[in-house]
C-alpha cells in the first residue's frame, strides 16, 4: 500500500515560472482522485513529481513513507505508473505486444509471467486482437488505450492518468471508466487529470481543484460542484457539469451527476420544482 503526500511543494521552472506554489496534499492508498483546473494551473507539473520526472524546488514529496528525493526514477516507477496525455510521447516499440511488455520487462519479469501481465492489460483495454500490430497503424484513440495498457501492465500500486478520455468515443470512455473501477477495486490508487467534468463527477470520489499552482478546493463531487463552490471554480475557469447547474437552478441541492439529478427530480415531483428566486449566479463568465 502506497500513501502519497505533497508537503509544501513548490516547483519553479528555470525561467522563473512558479508552476507549483506550496502544495499540501495527502492521498491515502486506494483513493480515486481527479485533479481539475484551468490550463496551466499546475496539474501535470504536480503529478510528474510522483514518479520523479520532476523534483520539487522546495518542500517534500512522500511516496509510501519515503522521501521521493532519495528514490531513483527506476524505484519510483515500480510504485507509480504515469500515462501521458499524448500517447506519442510514450510509444516507441514496433508492435503492440512489445510496447506493453517493455515496462514489466524492465521490472524484471520474463517468460510466461511477462506474457500474462501484458495479455491481461491488453484485454482490459480491448486491444487483445492487435498484439502483432504496429502501434502507429492504430488510430489516435487506440494508441491512447495502448499507452494506458502499457502502464497498467506494470501493476504499480499507484496509477496516474493525464487526460485519459480526450479523443475517446463512448466505447473508449467506457473502457477508461472500467479500467479505473477495476484498478480501484484491486486496491490501487487512481489519480486522473481531466477537463471532462461529467466523467470526473461520476468516476471519482474526490476532486482536487487547482489554480495558479495551488489547491483551491478538495472534496467529494457533491461538495466541489455544489453551488457554494462555484465562485472558486469560476476563478480557475472550471464550470460544474450540466446536472449540477440544473440541480442548483431547480433548488434540488448538489446533484453533480445525471443519476443524482434524476433521482432528485423523481423524489421532488413536478410540484416541488419551482426555480429558486433569485436565480443562483452561474459560474459561466470567468472574471
Amino acid at each position: 500500500m502506497t500513501s502519497l503526500a505533497f508537503e509544501a511543494v513548490t516547483f519553479e521552472y528555470p525561467s522563473g515560472i512558479r508552476a507549483l506554489d506550496g502544495v499540501d496534499l495527502a492521498i491515502e492508498p486506494g483513493e480515486r482522485v481527479a485533479i481539475i483546473g484551468q490550463n496551466g494551473s499546475g496539474k501535470t507539473t504536480l503529478v510528474r513529481h510522483l514518479n520523479g520526472l520532476l523534483r520539487p524546488s522546495a518542500g517534500r514529496v512522500d511516496i509510501g513513507g519515503e522521501d521521493a528525493a532519495g528514490l531513483t526514477v527506476a524505484a519510483l516507477s515500480r510504485r507509480v505508473g504515469l500515462v501521458f496525455q499524448d500517447p506519442d510521447r510514450q510509444i516507441f516499440a514496433g508492435s503492440v505486444r512489445s510496447e506493453v511488455e517493455f515496462g514489466p520487462r524492465n521490472l524484471g519479469l520474463r517468460g510466461s509471467h511477462l506474457r500474462a501481465v501484458a495479455d491481461r492489460a491488453l484485454d482490459v483495454v480491448g486491444l487483445a486482437a492487435e498484439r502483432g500490430t504496429n502501434p502507429y497503424d492504430l488510430g489516435a484513440s487506440r494508441r491512447k488505450l495502448l499507452a494506458l495498457a502499457s502502464v497498467l501492465a506494470m501493476e504499480t500500486p499507484v496509477l496516474v492518468l493525464d487526460e485519459p478520455t480526450t479523443g475517446q468515443d463512448l466505447r473508449g470512455v467506457a473502457i477508461v471508466r472500467h479500467v479505473i473501477e477495476q484498478a480501484s477495486a484491486n486496491g490501487r490508487t487512481v489519480i486522473a487529470i481531466s477537463h471532462d467534468m461529467d466523467f470526473v463527477a461520476s468516476a471519482f470520489a474526490r476532486i482536487v481543484v487547482m489554480r495558479q499552482g495551488q489547491v483551491v478546493l478538495d472534496g467529494a463531487p457533491a461538495s466541489v460542484f455544489g453551488s457554494a463552490s462555484w465562485d472558486a471554480l469560476r476563478s480557475t475557469y472550471v464550470e460544474p457539469p450540466l446536472a449540477a447547474r440544473i440541480g442548483a437552478h431547480l433548488d434540488l441541492g448538489s446533484t453533480p451527476t445525471d443519476d443524482a439529478l434524476l433521482s432528485a427530480l423523481a423524489s421532488a415531483g413536478a410540484e416541488g420544482l419551482e426555480p429558486r428566486t433569485p436565480e443562483p449566479r452561474t459560474p459561466q463568465t470567468p472574471q
Partner: protein
C-alpha cells in the same frame, strides 16, 4: 467554398480505403461539425479536406478537392496557405519548434507570407487577443501546458486568416473556458466569411458553434444535416458518439419514465441553462 467531390482515399500500404465516396460542401461563413466514433475517418477527412492527403501524407485518392470551384490538386502546398489552414489534435505536431516566444510563434505564419511588418504585428496581436493569450506572449512555447500550447497553435492559424479552416479536435486539451474561447473565435472567423470544418468528440462544442454536422462511420458519410437535428439523432448513440449533455440528460429522464410534467420542467431548465451559456459566451473570457 471548399468542396470534396466523391472522394475515396487510401493510405499507402493500407488494405482498404479509409474514406469511401465522400462528398462535402463547406460554404463560406459556415461552421460544419464532423462527428463519428473512433477510427471512423474523421482525421483522414480533415487531412484530405486540408489538401495534406495525399499531397504530403501519400496514399491514393480518387475524386476531387475544389476551392471556390478550382481543382487545387496541381497547386503546391505553399500556394494554399492563405486558402486552407489545418489544426491538428496535438499541438506538439503543430508548433514550429523554432520560435523562442509565443509572440514569434504566432507571427511565424504571417511573416512567411511576406506581409508588411505592420500587418504581421496587427494580425499577431489580433490572434493573441482573440484567444486571450496576450499574457503568454513572452513565454517559451515549449514551456507551456498542453492546453496553452493548443491555444497558441490555433492563434498561429488565425493569424494566417485562412479562407477555409479545418480543425481536428482543437479543444482536446482545453479547460471548459478555453474551449468556449475557441468556439467564440471560430464563430467570429466564420462571421467574417471563412468556411470552417471542425472534428470533435465533444458534441457540446459542436452544439455550440455548428450550423451543420456530418457524421462518418467506417469511412462513409452517414448523416449530414442541421446541427440540432443531427446531435439529437438517436443513431448517434448507436454509432458510439456521445450526445451533447442536454440530449443525454433528456434521454435519461425519458428512460427513467419520469412524469411528463417533471421532464418538461427539466427541459425548460436545460433551455434556460443554454441561454445563460449563450450570454456568457458573448461576454466571457479570461483576464
Amino acid at each position: 467554398m471548399l468542396t470534396l467531390e466523391t472522394v475515396t482515399y487510401r493510405y499507402a500500404g493500407a488494405p482498404r480505403p479509409s474514406l469511401f465516396d465522400v462528398s462535402v460542401a463547406l460554404r463560406d461563413g459556415e461552421v460544419v461539425g464532423l462527428a463519428g466514433p473512433s477510427e471512423a475517418g474523421k482525421t483522414t477527412l480533415c487531412l484530405v479536406a486540408s489538401g495534406l492527403a495525399p499531397r504530403t501524407v501519400g496514399g491514393t485518392m480518387s475524386g476531387r478537392l475544389l476551392l471556390d470551384g478550382e481543382d487545387v490538386s496541381a497547386r503546391p502546398m505553399h500556394e494554399l496557405v492563405g486558402r486552407i489552414g489545418i489544426a491538428f489534435a496535438s499541438p506538439a505536431t503543430q508548433l514550429t519548434g523554432v520560435a523562442g516566444t509565443v509572440y514569434e510563434e504566432v507571427a511565424f505564419g504571417p511573416m512567411n507570407l511576406g506581409l508588411p511588418r505592420s500587418e504581421v504585428l496587427e494580425r499577431t496581436g489580433e490572434a493573441l487577443a482573440a484567444l486571450r493569450i496576450g499574457h503568454l506572449a513572452a513565454r517559451d512555447p515549449v514551456r507551456l501546458s498542453g492546453g496553452q500550447q493548443q491555444l497558441v497553435a490555433i492563434a498561429g492559424l488565425l493569424a494566417l486568416r485562412p479562407a477555409h479552416l479545418v480543425l481536428d479536435e482543437p479543444t482536446a486539451q482545453l479547460d471548459p473556458a478555453g474551449s468556449r474561447m475557441v468556439a467564440g473565435a471560430l464563430t467570429d472567423l466564420a462571421a467574417s466569411g471563412a468556411g470552417i470544418l471542425v472534428a470533435e468528440q465533444k458534441t457540446d462544442l459542436l452544439a455550440a458553434v455548428c450550423h451543420r454536422v456530418l457524421v462518418v462511420h467506417e469511412g462513409r458519410l452517414v448523416i449530414d444535416g442541421p446541427a440540432v437535428e443531427v446531435l439529437h439523432d438517436p443513431r448517434m448513440h448507436e454509432l458510439g458518439v456521445a450526445p451533447p449533455s442536454a440530449a443525454r440528460l433528456a434521454r435519461a429522464a425519458a428512460d427513467r419514465r419520469l412524469p411528463r410534467a417533471v421532464r418538461e420542467r427539466l427541459a425548460a431548465a436545460i433551455a434556460a441553462d443554454a441561454g445563460r451559456a449563450g450570454e456568457a459566451a458573448g461576454t466571457g473570457g479570461r483576464a
